[in-house]
Symmetry: D2
Subunit: 341 residues, 4 copies
């Protein structure tokens, strides 16, 4: 019988044992709800320690919620949010930024490897005069790792932030795969966030081993403003908040954030190596983009591999994602299959 | 040392073993994300069986999300939603119905025991002419059990639904404590929902033993419309959806929905009995409302009991909630303390 | 042939000659658009003089726009706006406050003669605890004259404002019939606005002789905030803004604001006198509410009088509105008919 | 003394005599408000005759209102609206489409002369898979004349509409300068609208001689849906609606729509001729785009000519707009100045 080998997305991954254990451990006694529990009470401290700076951290269950709540907090309803055309917020969130902000407009800026550059941001801002007729530039949102599996270097982010801050924009980072980027870069989590000017981060844990937990981390406490009210009215304040906070604490304190990302990245490197010159982008995090053509995609699928087309189905591109819990044998099989193509 | 005995809310409760086990059991293999997993695939069937009718069920993590998404799906942005002044949607959701719907207006209708009556609904609708100047009556939302711990009888709901449907309104039920109401009434879940004309139900599990899981159940499949798009853009489509669906399946299939509610209700009956003539409302579900006065509240608190004031702090009313996992000794202590007042 | 005699609404009125002349006078040369014209440039000064204080004034074409833009500027999307159940914003604007604010919730407070009282406001605010779960009290909106044709006294407004300001709420006045109220009271326009604590006023001109012109007047310049951006994105910044500003200047500077209101009020007094003990409310501005019963309403209509039912058609109440340009003979005929009933 | 000669925008223009006369003529008697007047009652018929087909027409006072209300009526809050990057809705309306629709996302498609092509639209739609994660393609919006003063040919529009309709999108036309385009093309108004597949048109009159009047014209009556409720709750239903409808009737019935546009276009042709090879785009409607360089712009301004930079001030491009009422001597002076550069 043919076996299914999934390289669709790190959202297919299971929950890692450390986090499942934390849920069980938190499951004792009656606890005050809506954030007044001891786990939630430690979030600021534990994430502040991870990042090496004082910060405010708020737990939510999904990445779309984290991104949209962060952006809506720093963007007025008539604001503009600058992002890459491939950004998750632009392509994969069903218009959530517009919904949460009450109408803010996305402005796309193209760039290699799904990255914004400081130069392109400056040029875009220069080209549009701001008046009562225009949307008001409010935020830049970048993804770390990017949607094409690459990682911004600290200096790239710092340059972007400098342009943004000079002109009064805030910097948001969609860190759904933040651990993968930091692990690849071998840097301190602070190096690609607050030290590089990031104001607010969606710190993802779900894809990398949690059940459903993301933190919105404000490095600029002055920006927290009405975040908690926005979270509540969007239905994203969990009543039994201990369980989402406990996931985040375990994710950070046990070190699985780095261990899981490290394994996923290593697997992606092996897959990328096997793909050879079919690679479309450098493999930096845990995603591998390959040009295969329709026939080779079909034959991989026939062999039991699941993955998404990248771009229109008619194109030959495919995305292969390595999850933290990917079966070693599936990876070996995929590498062999890619090498044999 | 003084012990804390919490009667604040059923949101303080832990996760019941059956549901925690279901999470562990679901934690195997890589599974397709965003609802294409086998657990989510069984939701319609399992909830349909519970209710005894075909229905469509969608999982979300919070009650506010369930209520607001259900209401926004059946209410245009210029619509009116009729509810009791004590309704959770009116008082405890930070304006979520207005946010999700894009501006719909809440119209409150007073009533005994936090219930709407068919007569009051009809009178309210009669009193307001509908034109291009007015909001457009779109939905009625009732809570089962109510915010005052009482339960609508099937005939009460049917009468309300008849008035609503005659005039083109849809009927939503906030069932955050649905199991408590049904258990109290001793009826079939269908008797107070689709058989009584309810179009869409927020079927709560979180308060009654789940970690964070509610289902929006449409008994009128024609109303599902764009629910899934609304859920996604609100950040309420969980990527690892198996884990929220698995909670709901375990909740229903293991029978804990009824067992937990039964225990909580029984405890509330005991507390209510001990409160005697201080009771403000009949105890039907798992909430007990008592008139204590400021001094007696203070002395209960000094003895280690936690509970919320009901109404302004200066009033003498208190709300005591029995959770499914309430410690037997705490209940006994509370009953003794109430009797001794 | 039977003649139609309209007492439906002061919205049926024509444009008074002074204002029509002002439109013609402004119709020369090419003028910079969107507010950079000399007429708009004088708005602040002319309205500031009228009110006897520095203020910022912004022109729009409709009362709904004025009210909603004013309220949205001082109310966050999770805010609460307190108003009378009869308020135009609650009953006659198709949910506009919810739309413009992005979801703010209306909280109704009952009161005699369609007035809020300081006591009722304080009691309502006291009764609702504010937390992350609740909407956040943000604004009080009162109508001057009220929807029942009565006028708040300066002291009534000052008392309300005091309660509001103490608790951090802003005070908005819907002045669709502001001139009628001020004329009745015989007071200075400042007495019922900034001197009594009003923060922002919808200063109506349309009903009282303009073509389509209202000013949003901020007495508290710190509240102007993003008003101009909100006006623009709502499509309420007129390109040929000179023509709406010219109406407002003529309305104030020629004194027709007072002259027209005076005539309309006087006619209403005569009608009220003729109605005798059928009057439902004191006649203070230009509206007359009478209890007639279905038969008398039908016979008045048969005689050519047009007016609206007040409340459900089955009720016997009717509203008779005197416009600034009401035909003297129609008024005489109406008085005679009322007296003869 | 130096004279100011304005070529800033056709929004600087005055009201043409025919339309001012119509306002005076409508200014008699008390008329039922909010659209139940005889002028408004004739809109459908008069515009239907102009376009040669049955249609539904609704009056508003501004172009932003017309565009946004039209788009919000055919686009859900999670919808996508495709437009050119230069589109007025994308650049000059302060995010109005996002506001009115409740969050719809603008997707820009580049194209020569500020035009979308059928091919580019098809390619864009092909490149984005539609799922619950994406915004849902809902509408295409094109400007006629375009933001660069060019006019779509009937066949270009028909090809676009075919692509749009095949995929379930509706076609909106921003006709702020519709008369200029039709006059240039010498075609029937129906040829570039319903006969070419346009579903809903913002039919502009303000720039071309009205005081403040635009019509939203639905050629597909099935799309009118809740337009009137959306207009009301946005504050765009004028109480004294006779005055906006009377403008539109006079604009169409007197033929000034064509006469004014003809004159403005002719003046633009002269200016374009004088600009010679400095022209950046073909002159088709009443706008002239020229590459002048900073020094020549400064010297023109020193000579009394007012116009806008096009693009960033540092660029050398300028936009010169001919209004219907442009002074003949100013045009002659401008032509001479351009020729002398």
């Amino acid at each position: 019988m043919r076996q299914t080998m999934r390289f669709l997305s790190d959202n297919t991954a299971s929950v890692c044992p450390e986090i499942l254990a934390a849920l069980s451990e938190a499951n004792r006694d009656l606890m005050v709800a809506y954030g007044d529990d001891p786990w939630t009470g430690r979030l600021d401290e534990v994430l502040g320690e991870l990042f090496g700076t004082e910060s405010r951290a708020f737990a939510v269950a999904t990445g779309t919620a984290a991104n949209s709540l962060a952006l809506a907090t720093v963007t007025p309803p008539y604001g503009a949010i600058y992002c890459h055309p491939e950004a998750h917020i632009a392509v994969d969130e069903c218009g959530a930024p517009g919904f949460f902000s009450g109408g803010a407009q996305l402005e796309r800026i193209a760039g290699e490897q799904a990255k914004l550059t400081a130069e392109a941001l400056a040029a875009t801002l220069d080209a549009h005069s701001v008046s009562v007729h225009s949307v008001q530039p409010a935020a830049v949102s970048i993804s770390q790792a990017t949607e094409l599996g690459t990682a911004y270097r600290p200096a790239e982010i710092a340059a972007l932030s400098e342009v943004a801050h000079e002109r009064g924009l805030h910097v948001h980072m969609d860190g759904a795969r933040f651990a993968n980027a930091v692990t690849y870069l071998g840097c301190h989590p602070g190096d690609v966030t607050w030290r590089a000017g990031v104001d607010v981060l969606s710190f993802g844990a779900t894809k990398n081993g949690a059940l459903g937990a993301e933190a919105v981390v404000f490095f600029n406490p002055g920006l927290v403003r009405d975040f908690e009210l926005r979270r509540k009215r969007a239905g994203h304040l969990l009543s039994k908040s201990r369980f989402v906070s406990a996931q985040l604490l375990a994710y950070v304190e046990s070190g699985v954030w780095r261990r899981n990302a490290h394994r996923a990245n290593q697997l992606a490197q092996r897959i990328g190596g096997a793909a050879g010159n079919r690679l479309l982008h450098p493999v930096e995090a845990n995603e591998v983009f390959v040009e295969l053509g329709a026939d080779r995609k079909a034959s991989l699928r026939a062999a039991g591999f699941e993955f998404y087309d990248w771009g229109p189905p008619a194109s030959g591109a495919a995305r292969l994602v390595a999850s933290w819990d990917q079966d070693e044998r599936h990876v070996a099989a995929l590498c062999a299959a890619l090498a044999a193509l």
